[in-house]
Each structure stands twice: as structure tokens, then as C-alpha cells.
Amino acid sequence: MEHIRLPKAENVRLLNRLSPRRSCVGTLYLTATHSIYVESETQVRSETWVLHSLICRLEKQVNTSTGSPLLIHCKNFQVLHFVFPQEQDCVHIQASLQRLSQPEQYEELYCFSYKPNVDEAERKEEWSFLNLKAEYRRLGIPNSLWKSSPVNQSYKVSDTYPAELYVPESATQQVIVGSSKFRSRGRFPTLSYYCKDNQAAICRSSQPLSGFSARCLEDEQLLEAIRRSNPRSDFMYVVDTRPKLNAIANRAAGKGYENEDHYSNIKFQFISIENIHVMRSSQQKMLDVCELRTPSMANFLEGLEGSGWLKHIKAVLDAGVFVAKAISEEGASVLVHCSDGWDRTAQVCSVACVLLEPYYRSLKGLMVLIEREWVSFGHKFSHRCNHLDGDSKEVSPVMDQFLECVWQLTEQFPCAFEFNERFLIAVHHHMYACQYGNFVGNNQRERLRDKTHSLWKHLWDTRGDYINPLYRTDNCQSQGVLRPSTAPYCFKFWSGLYNRFDRGMHPRQSVEDYLMAVREETVQLEEQLASHKEVRGHSVTHETILPHHFTFLAGTPQDYSGGFIASSPCQQRSPVDGLAFTPPQNQTSEADLSVGSEQESGIADVSFNSQLSEEGPGEPDPDDAAYSAA
């Protein structure tokens, strides 16, 4: 609490970025974990909660005549635009939030103060919901080809690897330890996924410390052992997921990639996925495009292209497809690595798994996959998601990209996934929110699970929200290997995530929600029919339960006029102008008339006695979105 310089600021305006007429006035309260904004002029109490751990950037803008603006950018892509009447308030709030959103130690994170009504035994039980040992057993491991290795039991061989690892049956302790010394951060080649059907395996590691000429007998032996663990294939792939130039540059630092001449029977392949810095800046550019006020189609498409974001998504998916093909079509094992083996490697291995095995397209399967490939194998969540005040160069949307790859696949294969888009967004949200302990810390050794709760159990308990109604296990899309097209036109912009809070941009009726409601009703009907005998004699008061609200989300128009009709966003094009904004009660057309009149072309103003303002503030309004009528 000592970080809160000002617990409460009054008469703060919250601007609606896309339709200014929906802006409001209220009070902002700061608590230890959340900022809570309460609108003051509505009949129905309306609150906006912002979790401090979700705040990624505070942007104080130049004062205007109406006050001091403060933009809060959140990691879940929400942007809140506050205007404080007192500059002093703004400064204090900013300083408080700056500190509150960047704790210095794990213990300050929200997961340590989040206490749902669950007793300690149950809390512990939550953590056993997912069991990786059971997952490997499901894959048929250990077996005669692969064994569990105790070598990293106390994290001595690699402090970023999990304690429980699986290696080829023939790999001795000495070979493993030898190989680990020849790999960055001791991350030696180890099993990621095993294909029961044809015994091909995906293994993962970090780059070899080969420099220009170094070699390591044990490392060569370990790769040979991996190849032999797949008796049906006489070669294996080694996939370096970096661009060739980057890998070559690493040789100068004593790192690098495998020399085909030194390893027997390997096929070496580069797959260019860019590094975390490129991805970070690409995402920022894409978000800048998303936040444009009234972009034209050309602005948007140019910006999207310029950001390179979809190009990177395609690169990750292409890499996954390559690995999945090697496993399923060539029956060859694959070793995947990048530099440290915790970013691109995790992406490629997990995308390949989703393509290869239907189980990973189920709700629980995807959880297990994330737990194995990302959490246990040491994806540095706390660094990448900036959980603590740290090096901003460590931040990167690597996991975002994996989730987006899965989303792109759900668009191509609408019946193949048990979960829906909401599930992917929920995982994304919680990765950053730190409400649960799952993603806190950078590797298994660091993870603090003894006081926190587990997200997976929570998502499982609320799985009703996350089910894709079109999913059927007996469908041909849900079975076997997915073969997506990765032609550029197959990739869509994921507005559901990146414009998540601009609700007006999304379809107003959800096919999925509609079908879920129908299915729910179907279940009730089935029950009714089953219990028909018991019901007989009673008066049946079953009513059609179809959710009619889905079909009545027509809402209100947006601004299509480019500034002719009252209160259009176009009159307030720049952020600074956006503040020259009259209080909502006067926000009818008269207030704006003079602004909108006689634009360049002798076009008349529109003196609407606007019916737009007739909607009561309490009325649910599905589309307060942007009109970009430039």
C-alpha cells in the first residue's frame, strides 16, 4: 500500500477512443492490486477494473484545456484513456501505477494475494490436475526405446530444464552430461513428443557450442542414439529455427549449429523465424495500427504489412508444418533448436504437436501441451511477459504467436478443435495477469506453486465457456494429422485478440454462442424426454429457451458520415483534439454543429436534433465502435 500516492481521484473522464459520445465521468480508486473506475452519472453502477499486473505502459500526454490525459496501455490490448482535471492527480496516479504495475519481487505479484474461497488441501489438489508424467505415459513413454533420466533431478545439468526428462534408452549419463556441456545453458537434446504410430520423435535442445570447428563426441553420440530410437528411419532431421545468418553470427561467439559432416545421418535444415527483438517490435507496430482512430483500408493494410506480424506467424506455422510432415509422412525423428531453445523451439514443437495429434486440439490437451513445451521446458514467462520490473529487451510476444497460430488453425479447421477462441484469449490474458501461479517465474526451478492457485483447474471448472460447439471427435478434421494451407491469404488478422476491447468491430451475432444455446436446449429436451414418465401428470412448464438476445443485438449506428453527423470521431482526429470534448450531457448535436459544418467542399452541416443521444446510458449497447469514415 505504500506505493499508492493517491488512493482516489475524482471527476476523472474516461474517453471512449472510438466513439467519444460514449465517454463518461467518474472516480478512479487505486487499490493494491486493481485500479477501479466508477462512473458517477449512471443509474446503473458501472465499474471498470484494471489489474495492475496487466498494465504495460503509462503514457502521460500534454495537458489540454480540459485536463491532464493519461493513457493506460494494457498487456491484454486494452487501452484506457483517462483525463484528470487536476494535473497533480494525474502525476500521482501515474507514479503510483508505474510502481504498482512493475513489482520488484515475485512476492508482490497478484497471485500471492489472490485468495479465492478454497482451502489449502483443495489448493494443492489444483496443482495435480495436470500431470506430465501421466502425459508421457499417454504417449507410451517410457518404453523400450525411451527412458526417464534422473540426470537433472536437482537441476544441476541444466537449471532451466525440468527435473523429469526422457532420453533414448541407450544414452548413458556420461553421454548426456557430455552433450549438455556442448549446448547453451546445458539444454541437451531431450524428448519432446513421441509418435506412437511410427516411433518417430520430436526432440528439442539449445544450439551446440560448435563455434567454427569444435565438436563433441557425446553430443554426436546422443543424436545418433536419438536416430536409433526410431528404428524405421535411417536418418533424422536437425532443424535450426533461426535465419541462417543469425546462426552463422552465433559461431563467432562460440555457438552455432550442427555440422552435417560431424553427425552421422542427419539432415540439417534452417527455418527462418526471427528473434525475440524482431517479434517485439513487429507486434508493437501491429498494435499501433490497431489503435489508429479512423484508419482507411489502405492505412490498415499497409500498416499490417509494414508490421510484418502475419509474416512471422506464417513462418512459425510453416516451421510447425515442416516438422509435422517429417514425423508423419517421412517417419523421421526431428531435433528442433534455436539459440537457447526456449522460444522458437517451444513454438515449433508445440505447433507441430497440435498438427500431429488430435489430443492437443482438445481443451485439456492444449493445457497439457502448454504445460509441457512452455512451462516445464523453461519458456521465460516472467521475462517475456514482463511480470516484474526488468529488462525491456527480454519482453517478447513469443507465446502470443503460438496462441495465434492455433487460432489461425481453428479458422481453417472449424470442427477440429474442442476449444473456442475465448479459451485462447483466456490463456493469453492469464499469462500476463499473474492471478494464477502457473506462468510466474522463468523455469521450473524458479516456480512458486506453494502459495498460489492453478489456472488449469480454474479453466477446466469453467470449461462450459470454452467449448466449440462444432467440435466432434468423429469428424474427419478432428482425427489424424492436420494439413493446413500456409498460403498468405489463409492468414487473417486476429481482431478478436488485438482489438478485443473494441467490441463494435466484432460480429454482432455469434454463431458459436447461438449453437451453444441450441445445444444446451437440446440437452434439456433430452432430459425431458428421458424423464417423460415422471413428468406425466405434472404440468410441464417448459418454455423455449432459445436465447433471443442473440438475435437482437442490432444496436446503434456508428459514425458513417465522416463528420457531418453530430459527435463523430472525425471531428476529434488527433489525440489532443480528442480532449476538446464537451461533457456528455451536452453532447448532443448542437454542441458539435459548428465544428462539423461547411467542410472543404461547400457541404452543409447537419443540424440533427440527434436521436443518437436518446439511448439511455443504461441500455446495453453492443457496438460502441469506430467509424472510420475518412
Binding site: 483500408m297 509474416k311 472449424p414 494451407s485 449453437l515
Partner: protein
Amino acid sequence: MEFAELIKTPRVDGVVLHRPFMPTVEGTLCLTGHHLILSSRQDNTEELWLLHSNIDSIEKRFLGSLGTIIVKCKDLRMIQLDIPGMEECLNIGSSIEALSTLDSVSLMYPYFYRPMFEVIEDGWNSFLPEDAFKDLEAMTDEWRLSEVNRDFRVCTTYPPLVAVPRDVDDDTLRKAAGFRHGGRFPVLSYYHKKNGMVMMRSGQPLTGTNGRRCKEDERLINATLRPGKRGYVIDTRTISVAQQAKARGGGFETEANYPQWRRIHKAIERSNVLQDSLVKLVEACNDQSHSMDRWLSKLEASNWQTHVKEILTTACLAAQCIDREGASVLVHGTEGTDSTLQVTSLAQIILDPACRTIQGFQGLVEREWLQAGHPFAQRCSMSAYSNSKPRHEAPGFLLFLDCVWQVLRQFPCSFQFTEQLLVLLFEHAYASQFGTFLGNSAAERVRLSLPEKTVSLWSWVNRPQEIDHLSNPLYEPNSLVIWPSVAPQSLLLWEGVFLRWNRSPRCQEEAHEEMVHIIEYNKELQNKVNSLRRQLAQLETQEPPLQTP
């Protein structure tokens, strides 16, 4: 018949056909007057029947004595025919070229086509203006049907019957017609029952450089305003384009002469720009380079999505003026036969739930496109692959369908039809066995005796099995105005048309089947429960007499 001389080689054996996402077929290729047919002459293999009029262009390639013809269709499909023998290939190629570019309308297939199905309702009579007017009469007495254009003399592109304000006589209409481009005087397009506001459309006023005015025109459109109310003129052109039009005798309504009207200019592009955009878009979709940057930059450079956004935005604006601002609207561009119709028809989709039904949508297409004089024959004579220089070609109707698809995607439960109806209309507008889209106007359709000599597309569509196929399982009538989002993030590329032949439709079909299954199963159970309930109710009514002593 006269086609025989165009067919140099009527038949070739051993031709191999490659189609996207279908197995290759080897068989005999036959050319008839109207079709290219490939048949394997085996049972259970699908034959290809392709209308010559669907062929946009062909490309010939030779490898030794094996010739290959790539046939590029107006529905954007590309098929490949491997033809043994160079001479045969050349002959087939030139025959196709000749047959697919016949000039005379009366040689077109619809004049030869005999329906293989039972015509339940003659589509030529399904959407008569007098019937539509009956609905209007039930709502208001402020409008009348005028026969001023009975013989197409006042306006060659209008139908014989048009709805105009009750208090305006035919003489006024004639004079107003003289002041409007192509004689297209302002007529009623849509009456908004909720508040009595209307949408009208017309050609541009012929003000010219010296600001000509026409009292009758002013009187005509002012007659549509309620006392003390203002209206909006939505000019689909930018102000500078409208200014330039003055030099050619056109122009726009000035404030001085139309004080009760406020003018808004939008920027919907003209025909040749749109055609160019379509060609570029389709070229981008067929680019096999697999580079994301190249795809996005080509997509952007085609400007197609920009046009979609502009048209939809303008339609939303018109709808907003009517429904939210309680004002009447007059829409026009230059001729009033292209962008004007895009705007007026889309605004009705947004405002009027009736237009979102299968029948209602056909009625809208008939009223706002066919009867309103969109020159289909000129606009749709070539599609995206044609090599010849475009004259009057433009994908205005396709853009309209694309915009409808965008709204349908945003309101997937509010339309009685699926995307399939839109795709079907796109196909038939460019090539069809039906006469519906032949000709450029109502007058031409009469002159060509289309209703007597050809079958209407609506006759075919409005059969139970076809309706079934086009029905949206998610449909729940929605009586509200539906306001779509026009943010760039909300407007997607219409895959159903532009990527239709680039990717297998299987996954989407499966999803659709599953959707239908979920809903059908629900209905089945509902019926069961209802019938049980009825039985129960019967039993209950029978029981009491037994209980009472």
C-alpha cells in the same frame, strides 16, 4: 444451325481435365453451340458442362504435340484441358474463343434452354412493381404509381411503372426528367415504415456550368419532405468529381436552389476503376509466390477492400439519415445506375428485415438492380481474366454482393439465406442459362422478349429443394435495423468468391453440416416434446370427467 461454322473440331478423344480440388478426368471433349462438355463416358464420374458464355479468356500452351488450354472462367475458376494433337488443340481454342464472345443476344443460351424442372411459379411474374406497390399502399397514401414511362420514352432505363409523390403530376415528372441525367428523375426506392421517411434515387441534375435549375425537379423532391423537415442528398461522388461533371452538363444540387436539402459527398469509384480493382484482386489471389508481404501489398494495391468499405459506409450513412435522423434521402451519382444502386440496395438490407429473407432479397435485386436499370449486359460481359480492353465492364453488382456478405458475416443469424445465394447471383449475373440478367434495362428486356422466350432464374431458385439448399439454419427473424461495423478490421476478403478455387471447401462444408445437424436435432427433439405434451394435455382433459363423481 449457325454455330456449326464456328465449331472447327466438335470432338476430341483422350482429353485430360484438371479442376481445382477434384480428381483429374480423362475423356472425350465435345463442343456444342453453347457448351464445352467433357465426359469420361463412364458411370459415376462427374462430367464437365461449361457454358461458353462463362469463359472469360483462354490460354494455349504446347509441349511437343500435347496442347494445353487453360480456361479462365467468369466465376474465377480456372480449369486445364490437356489435348493431344496440336491441330485439335488450336481448333478447339479458336472455337471456344469465337463461341464465348458471340455478339448477338438472341444467340445466347437462355434462348435455347428448356427447363428440366417443373416451374412452380413463373419467376418473370414473381416481383412485379404493382405487387410491390400494394405493400406500400398498405403503409401510406402519400405515394402513387405513375405510368409516365409506360413506353420508356421519358426514361429509357426506368421500368414502365415508378412510385412518385402523390401530389406530383406526370407533367412535372416529364420536366424533371429533362433535368436529370438519362431522364432518371427522382423516384421512390424505399419507404421506411417506422417513421415514414423515404429513400429516393435519380441521375445527377443537369445544372451545367451556368447553374441551370428546374423548378419541377425542386418541387418533385420537396414534395417528399414533411413540413419543417430537411432531407439529405447523398452524392456518391467526391465534390471534385461532381464539380468536374458540371463541365459535361452534369452537376449537383446547390444549396441556393435546394435550401431544404443538405448535400453529403462520398467517394465511390467509377466503373473502370472498379474493373481494374477486380482484375488486380484476382491476380493477387492467384499469385503463387507465397510471400506474405507481396500478398498484403497486392491486396492493398487492388483497392478492392477500400471500395467495399466506401460503399458500405455510404449505405450505412443513408440508413442512418433515415432511421436515426428521421430525414428523407435522395441518392445519386452520375448516371444513377451503379453506385447509386449499390447504396440504395444496401441501405435497405440494413433497414428492412424483409430484404434479409430469400424472397425479399430476390425482390430487392429485381427492384433495385434489374428494374432500376443497372446495365448488366454491359457491366458483366467480362470478368477478371479477360484480355480485351474493358469498355463498360464493372463489378458493381459483385461489390454489392460482397458488401451484403460482409453484413451477413457480422449478423450471421439475421439472414434467411446463406452466402450460397450471393455466390449464385454472382455466377448467374455473368453467365447463365436463365434470361434474368440479360439486357441492360426493363425496356431492353421487353424488346428482347425475355419473359416469353427465356426462363427466369427466380423460377429455378424458388423451388423447395433449391430454397432448402440456400437456407441459413441459424436464421431467426430480426425485426431491427442492423448496423454493421465498417472498420478495416471488420471487413474481410470474401473467401467464398475470391479464394473459392484456391482452397478445398471441405472443412467449411463440414462445419456447415455440423451446424445444420445441431439445429435439426434440436428441432426434432422439440417436436417430440411438443407432441408428447399434446398427448398429455389430451389425457388431462379426458381424465377430469372420470374423477368427478
